[in-house]
Amino acid sequence: MSLLEIEKLSLTIGDTPILSDVELSVAPGEVMGLVGESGSGKSITALTVMRLLPWAARASGRIAFDGIDILAASEDQMCALRGDDIGMVFQEPMTALNPVKTIGEQVAEGIRWHTRASRADAEDRARKMLDRVGLPSAQFPLSRYPHELSGGQRQRVVIAIACALKPKLLIADEPTTALDVVLQAQILDLLRDLVAENRMGLLLISHDLAVVTEMADRITILRHGEVMEAGDTARTLSEQRHPYTRQLAQASMHVPARARTHEVGQDDPLLQAAKPLLQVERVTRDYPGRRKSLLKRAAPTRAVDDVSFSIDPGQSVALVGRSGCGKSTLARMILALDGPTSGTIRFRGEVITGKSEAELKPARRDMQVVFQDPYGSFDPRQKVEKLVAEPLHVLEKKPTNAERREMVAKALHEVGLGPRDMDKYPHEFSGGQRQRLSIARAIITRPKLVVADEPVSALDVSIRAQILDLFAELNQKLGVAYLFITHDLTVARAITDQVMIMHAGKIVERGRTSRVLDHPQSEAAKALVAAAPDLHRAIARRLQEQG
Amino acid sequence: MKLWKTILTAAALVLANGASALAARTDLVIGITLEPPHLDPTAGAAAAIDEVLYANVFEGLTRIGADGEVLPALAESWTISDDGKVYTFKLHSGVKFHDGSDFDADDVKFSLDRARADNSVNAQKGLFAAIDTVEVVDPATVRITLKNPQSSFLYNIGWGDAVIVAPETADTNKEKPVGTGPFKFQNWAKGSSITLIKSDTYWGAPVSLDKAEFRIVPDAAAAVPALLSGDIQAFPFFPDPESVAQIKDDRRFKVVIGATEGETILSINNKKPPFDRLQVRQAISFALDRKAIIDGASAGLGVPIGSHMSPANKAYVDLTGLYPHNVDKASELLKEAGLENGFKATLKLPPPSYARLGGEIIASQLRDVGIDLQIVPVEWTQWLDQVFTKKDYDLTIVSHTEPNDIDIYSRKDYYFNYDNPTFDKIIADLNHTSDEAKRMTLLGEAQKILADDAVVGFLYELPKVGVWDAMLEGFWENAPIQANDLTKVKWTE
């Protein structure tokens, strides 16, 4: 008998249909993966089970949990269920904890509420639970506040809250999306162990097919509020019977076609003579420590520590590392948006560090940037024409209006958009289209180097594949060199020639992409590679397990 | 509405603690608008000091009565020598100061000598200018010798500035006044109230009030609600004539309109062009509609005047017909003066409502003849500084409250900047004339000259509006001097 049984669940918010006829079940001890791209309704499904929907939402159908009709249950009944029989873990650990209460209070609160235990008993149980999720009370006393913990640690606290009363069902909504790969692997391991220990049912919601494949026994694929396909994970993904399943799986494993890879440096005597495009020499960046008192400051934090490397013209390089390793700081210094504490950066042989904005103009013409967030990287108040044309500011000779429109049209064409898009506002475009706009803006000055900071990590897998193709294509067509900043090894593998692994402000390993990712040498690289979910590998392992 | 009021009032009665049910009331809260700067009437000109203390806490040898007459006070009786220079006062016996010390002739000598001393800070030293010597004949007799006869001497020593103080307490009277009156000082909550209580040791006819609190209510706006709500039971110098009609309809209150010595005038700077021209001043006089001004600024209370003399005065000559309200005539005069296109001027207004309200009306009336007035409200200190002292003004409105003060127009450097030798001569003659009929003629001539010259715009005589609980009696109706004599005030059944 199933623990959770969802039948014909339909839901509308206001007049907008969100879910239609969703069917889903979770058995005790089973891991059910719920997969879908953004807007597919997977989070709403979870919130419906918890009955934590906005009050404008109307649900129909049936949800049975452990024999209780959830949709018909009273609010008191639901309160009794939540936290006791059903636990939930959310995506954003940084904001999921109340900042003004200690972690002890927050874990104990649910215990006290449901069991009417004394404060001391509840705290005792909370201490044990925190210990279980990897926060031993010696280092993490109950009196800690959330802001004193890192993201991964906070997610452990959230899991402790959810699992404190050993619920029958745990719902985890994108529990690792905000974490880097290494933390993701740790948290997934923890969840897996907890489920096994207590024979919990787990409803794991994710956009990441690889993660779900590694974790889930069965999988339900959701699209636009409808179930596309459901079934055994390994079989569903290996057979790929439904076209959407196939589309998702292929997009997840997509590698753009690249006719000519650019293997230079040590290996290629012909190009070795050519001057490197970018040279980073012994660059260090310190941030001043917090003021301890009026006169004293803590020791400075070293974000980037004595880093040197170079990029050749046309080369595509990935800078990979865990969050907080200093890769974004390094990127900002290369873009001359921030200055190093020591060391120099040369672009096309000229020093760009410590230069005034006017002196930087020629360098800026040849160096552009693509950001991660397709929503935040455009000023919503301006039209596409003006936004894409923004880098033209660095041209020596200001183009006329007609010239400008022509250049913008050309750039838009190159990224697959039409000239009519010029007069639209950014909000009229989808996320993928915006990232195309972002690329159009980056190439309008015909730069020699584009720095791309996590350019596809905010995109759904199918869109991500298209954007990666576009990057590859432009690399071929325009001969532009890339520096990709990413924590995602699949991206690095897909379109870069070389990979640099960054750890704690230092570059610890560099080499050809395939070599580094297949045979990592340094500890940091090994950890990254080991933790990175890989759909191929996961399916293979599942099939193997099932024989 | 009615029903609600009944219900709520009933609720209020239940809540009230029934204190009002007591039979004979002996306490009183009196409203005053200005707070005295200190409490020594012999050391300051502020009328507010007398409003609280005169005849209540402090007494002189004589005192001034409700109609301006001279009455005996600490002096039981007196004799005047035939040449009019020697006054012998017989003092009451058994009089005690509030601090318990006895009052005798030495105190009189001390007080008068102190007031006329060189280093005296008395605001009205002129009152004592005629005194040559003050002698103690015996503890109950004082002889005062004058330098020359002065018919107003007994009146003069009846002023608040001439009250008798004890040598021991003279220096501390500012904070803690000690006098011989029927009330003694109890408490001064600065900014709020001054409380007097009945003195047990009073020598004269006992007063019927046990306690009198002078509550300071500076805003006219607050005066009405304070009265209506019963917080204040009497407001002898009621600052808000506008509300009089309203209060009159309320049977709980008595409203008494009396006379003052206040000629309210539109003062003109006679030396400042174009006001130095007679036609212009006359034009202004023709442009003024006194009835509208009295109605608008003084709720219709107040008698129009045509020159600088109170209509109640024996010497009064009715000159109000000289400049009737006539806009055409005014315009014509301005045209004669070459100002047919009008001109601009300022009108500085001190704080009292007669000035602020009257100013708006006058500005509107003068606008009808092409004179565009810019209204500049000023505080008293600024008015005294800019207008009265520096004569930096075009027009202003003020009430001259001193009695018999027509001579100010002959004073050199007075803020009117008026200079007329003929008028000066009349005033000089007046000072040397004792014949009553002759005096009347001279005063009539003086009034006529001022009116003919249109020295200022003569508006109206300021009324004294007194409001008090209908159960109260004994307040002064008129204001011969600014005082709240409580000696006869009592609650009736």
Binding site: N98, V100, W113, Y145, R290 | P37, G191, A226, D231
Partner: protein, 315 residues
């Protein structure tokens, strides 16, 4: 924590010093000679000059400032021109009216506002919320002095429940004295309560959208418990900010209300002093109120640290 405290303290002190300079400078440039004002119109030029020397008005500007500021520190505010008593005595007499009035009004506004804010936030978007917030909107729009006039006519003139104004002094009995503060306190408090209720509500609604509220709900806590236990404390920071501003406003802003009710408080003292050009009193009281505002702001800053552990542990 100490760094945070020290920084706030330093800022408060700097502001205080700057404010004293501004007050001093403004009163320096005011037209009119204080010595002349004190002596009146009939004094001779010699007398004025003598007094100027006595008052130290002929000393260099910087010296005069230091002397004045030093006096302030030792609570020596000088003597009032009009009352010729030490200003500190006047202040002492008045503050026993203004401070209780401000505190009563503050308490009243808080007692009204916080429950209304909680009520409204809990019913966000529903009829109860709309009605409560409509009333709050109205409360914000009503000028307090006009409201005071209406109160006087309703409760003092029409129903005769409370005095229309004036203050009998605390010696007349606490109950009697309090009674005369009721209307002014209501007139002051209601518009402030309206503002505070709106702030409380919007702060709560913002907090209720936070992820950790969902976490708490997922624990099985009913909405009401979440509102009180999790939302309220997090919403306290904007509420405290407004409370701090309101106290400053109430202490000084009583100026008009004290005039309407002719209460002998600091507000009226300063108003009277302004019209009488009693500049010593003006500058002293303004300085005092400025110091009070700065002190309350400092207190609010410190209370942030009590409410928010993130500020507390900031090294």
């Amino acid at each position: 924590m100490t760094a945070y405290l020290l920084k706030r303290l330093a800022i408060a002190l700097i502001t205080l010093v700057l404010a004293s300079m501004v007050v001093f400078a403004v009163l320096e440039i005011i037209p009119g000679d204080p010595a002349r004002l004190m002596l009146g119109m009939n004094a001779s030029a010699d007398q004025v000059e003598l007094l100027r020397n006595q008052m130290g008005l002929n000393a260099p500007l910087a010296l005069r400032y230091l002397h004045w500021a030093g006096g302030l520190l030792s609570l020596d505010f000088g003597r009032s021109y009009t009352y010729s008593v030490p200003v500190i005595d006047l202040v002492r007499e008045r503050i026993v009216v203004s401070l209780p009035l401000a505190l009563i009004a503050l308490a009243l506004s808080t007692i009204i506002a916080i429950p209304v804010g909680l009520f409204s936030a809990g019913r966000h978007g529903r009829a109860g919320d709309t009605i409560a917030m409509g009333a709050a909107q109205l409360g914000v729009a009503v000028p307090n002095f006009w409201f005071a006039l209406m109160l006087i006519y309703l409760f003092a003139v029409w129903l005769r429940l409370v005095p229309a104004g004036g203050f009998p002094g605390w010696s007349a009995g606490v109950w009697v004295a309090l009674k005369s503060l009721v209307l002014p306190a209501i007139a002051l408090a209601l518009p402030q309560a309206a503002i505070l209720a709106r702030v409380t509500r919007s702060a709560l609604i913002e907090v209720l959208n936070e992820d950790y509220i969902r976490t708490a709900r997922a624990k099985g806590l009913p909405f009401r418990a979440v509102l009180w236990r999790h939302a309220l404390r997090n919403a306290m920071i904007p509420v405290l900010t407004i409370l701090g501003l309101q106290f400053a406003f109430l202490l000084a802003g009583t100026i008009i209300i004290e005039n309407v009710f002719y209460l002998p408080g600091l507000g009226r003292l300063v108003f009277q002093a302004i019209t009488q050009r009693d500049l010593i009193v003006v500058e002293s009281v303004v300085m005092l109120l400025v110091a009070a505002v700065i002190a309350v702001n400092l207190l609010v800053d410190l209370s942030y640290a009590v409410v928010d552990p993130r500020l507390r542990s900031r090294q």
